[in-house]
C-alpha cells in the first residue's frame, strides 16, 4: 500500500519512539481479601486483577479429578471509556475472557488441585487501548501473588502498524488512526519465548507480522522486569 505524506505516521502523538512502551506501573496485593491480586497500569490503561482459589468448583459436574481448572473473567467498568458501557457480559468481553484464559493457561500448573477452580477476575478501570494485554499482565501477577504454581509469568503487549510504521503499545489515538491502523495483541511466556495470545485486527504483510512479533518479544522483556520488581517489592520485606 502506498503511504502518502498526509497519512504517514512519522512521529508518535505522545512523543514516544516506535519501540517505546508507555509508562508502566505495577503493584501486587491491591485487593486485600483476595488470595492474590495486582494492578497493572500502562499509559492511561488501568487493569486490576484478583485471584480466588484454588477452591471447590461448583456445579460439581464441572469438576475435574485430574486437576484444577482456571476460570477467567474480563470486564470493562461502565465508566472506563467515554461512552458508557452497559454493565454485564458482551460478545466482546466473552471473547476476550476466552483468549485471556488461553493466554494464562500454559503458564499455570493446577495438577495439584483436583476438583478445584482458580478464579481470575479482571476489571478494566480506565481504558486507553491495550486493555486485554494489561489485563493479562495484571492477572499473571495476581496468580503469582496467590502462590499458584507457575512455569513462567505472562507478559502481554499490543504491537501493530499505524500509518505504515510498525510500533509497540498502541494508545487509543493510534488504534483509531484514520488512515490505517493494525492492532496485534501478543502474549509471551518470556522464559522460552512461547506465544500464548495472538490476534490481529487489520492488514499487515507476513514480514511485517514477523517484525512486529520480534518487537513484542523485546518489549515483553521490559514488562517482565516491571512485573518482577512489583512482586519483589511486596515480598522482600515480608
Amino acid at each position: 500500500m502506498m503511504v502518502t505524506a498526509t497519512n504517514a505516521y512519522n512521529k508518535r502523538m505522545d512523543g514516544r519512539n516506535f519501540d517505546e512502551l508507555r509508562e508502566i506501573e505495577a503493584k501486587v496485593g491491591v485487593v486485600k481479601s483476595a488470595d492474590g491480586s495486582a494492578m497493572f497500569k500502562i499509559g492511561d490503561t488501568i487493569a486490576i486483577a484478583a485471584v480466588r482459589g484454588p477452591r471447590d468448583l461448583y456445579p460439581r459436574f464441572m469438576q475435574n479429578p485430574k486437576g484444577g481448572i482456571l476460570r477467567c473473567s474480563y470486564n470493562m467498568m461502565s465508566f472506563s471509556v467515554d461512552e458508557r458501557i452497559r454493565p454485564g457480559p458482551s460478545r466482546r468481553s466473552r471473547e476476550i475472557t476466552l483468549v485471556t484464559e488461553n493466554a494464562l493457561m500454559p503458564a499455570v500448573d493446577l495438577s495439584e488441585f483436583p476438583n478445584s477452580v482458580v478464579d481470575v477476575f479482571i476489571e478494566i478501570v480506565q481504558a486507553d487501548a491495550g486493555t486485554r494485554c494489561a489485563g493479562i499482565c495484571a492477572a499473571s501477577l495476581a496468580l503469582a501473588d496467590a502462590g499458584i504454581p507457575m512455569r513462567d509469568l505472562v507478559c502481554a503487549v499490543s504491537v501493530g502498524k499505524v500509518g505504515g510504521k510498525i510500533l509497540v503499545d498502541l494508545n487509543k489515538y493510534e488504534e483509531d488512526y484514520e488512515d490505517g491502523s493494525s492492532d496485534m495483541p501478543v502474549a509471551f511466556l518470556p522464559r522460552r519465548n512461547e506465544i500464548s495470545l495472538l490476534q490481529l485486527d487489520g492488514g499487515m504483510k507476513k514480514e511485517e507480522i514477523l517484525n512486529a512479533l520480534e518487537l513484542a518479544k523485546k518489549s515483553c522483556v521490559e514488562i517482565l522486569e516491571v512485573q518482577r520488581n512489583a512482586l519483589m517489592g511486596k515480598y522482600k520485606n515480608g
Binding site: 471473547e95 483468549v99 507476513k206
Partner: protein
C-alpha cells in the same frame, strides 16, 4: 478427550500421516452451493468434507451509529445448532459461537471488504444494515474456515432490495453489493510438533493450539486469532502464515 486417542493420533502423525489420509497442508474437498434460500439477499452453503455450514445475508434499513452517520454496518451472528453436533446445546450463544462469528466479522471488517459508505441511504438517518447469519449444519472440524468462506460466497451474491423511503420491497432488487476485497480464512492447528491445515473434528479436539489467518487477494493478512490452550513459537507462526497464504488462494478460486 481421552489420552488413548490422542496417542493414536500422534503415532500416525509421527509416521507422517493424518487419520483422515490427508497430507499435513492439504485441504478437504470443498463444495460451494448457492441454491440455499431465495428469500435471502445472498446465501451460500459450503462443505469442507463432512463439515457443512450455511450462511445467509439479509439487508434491513436501520439507523447509523452516531459516530458514523454516513456508514452502514454489518452484524455477524453464528448459531451452532444442536442438530449439527452432539456437543452443541440449545440456549444462548456459547463462547465458541461468539468467537466464530467475531473472527469472521474481523476479516470482513478489517479487510474493508464492504464499502460501508455505499450503504448510506440518508446521512444520519437511514443506512443499510447487512445481517449475516451463520448456521452450522454438520461439525466435522474447522467450522471457522467454512463459515468465513460461506460468508464471502454469500456476500458476493447479495443484491440490494428496493427501498422507497418507507418500505423495503424485497421482491425487487436494485443492484449488487460492491465488494472491495476478498478475505478468506485459513486455520492451521498444532498437535505436538506437527502443523495441520483444515483440521477435522478429532484433530481439532486434540490440538494444542490453533492459528486462524485471514488473507486478502493481495496476500495481506487482515485478521488473526490464536486458539487452543497451549503455546506457539515465532517459527510456528511464520510457518502457519506461510501455509495459510498458500491455501487461501485455493479457497478464493472456488468462488464465482
Amino acid at each position: 478427550m481421552d489420552n488413548i486417542s490422542r496417542e493414536y493420533l500422534i503415532k500416525f502423525l509421527d509416521k507422517g500421516k493424518r487419520i483422515n489420509g490427508r497430507k499435513f497442508d492439504e485441504l478437504r474437498e470443498i463444495e460451494v452451493d448457492y441454491n440455499v434460500s431465495k428469500h435471502a439477499e445472498g446465501a451460500a452453503r459450503i462443505k469442507f468434507g463432512d463439515t457443512e455450514v450455511i450462511v445467509g445475508v439479509k439487508l434491513e434499513v436501520g439507523e447509523p451509529f452516531p459516530d458514523k452517520p454516513d456508514e452502514g454496518t454489518i452484524i455477524v451472528g453464528a448459531e451452532m445448532l444442536p442438530l449439527s453436533s452432539a456437543e452443541f446445546e440449545p440456549g444462548p450463544p456459547s463462547v465458541d459461537s461468539i468467537e466464530l462469528a467475531r473472527v469472521v466479522d474481523r476479516a470482513i471488517r478489517e479487510s474493508k471488504a464492504i464499502d460501508f459508505k455505499k450503504l448510506c441511504i440518508t446521512k444520519g438517518e437511514k443506512v443499510w444494515m447487512v445481517l449475516i447469519d451463520i448456521y452450522t449444519i454438520n461439525d466435522d472440524g474447522n467450522l471457522q474456515d467454512a463459515s468465513a468462506l460461506a460468508t464471502l460466497a454469500a456476500l458476493k451474491q447479495v443484491k440490494i432490495p428496493r427501498y422507497d423511503g418507507k418500505k423495503v420491497d424485497y421482491s425487487e432488487k436494485t443492484g449488487k453489493l460492491p465488494l472491495l476485497s476478498m478475505p478468506v480464512e485459513c486455520s492451521v492447528v498444532k498437535i505436538k510438533d506437527k502443523l495441520l491445515s483444515d483440521p477435522c473434528f478429532e484433530e481439532e479436539k486434540m490440538m494444542d493450539a490453533r492459528l486462524t489467518v485471514g488473507v486478502t487477494e493481495n496476500n495481506e493478512i487482515c485478521a488473526m486469532q490464536k486458539g487452543g490452550k497451549k503455546v506457539l513459537t515465532i517459527e510456528d507462526v511464520n510457518e502457519m502464515i506461510e501455509i495459510s497464504l498458500k491455501n487461501s488462494e485455493k479457497l478464493r478460486k472456488l468462488l464465482k
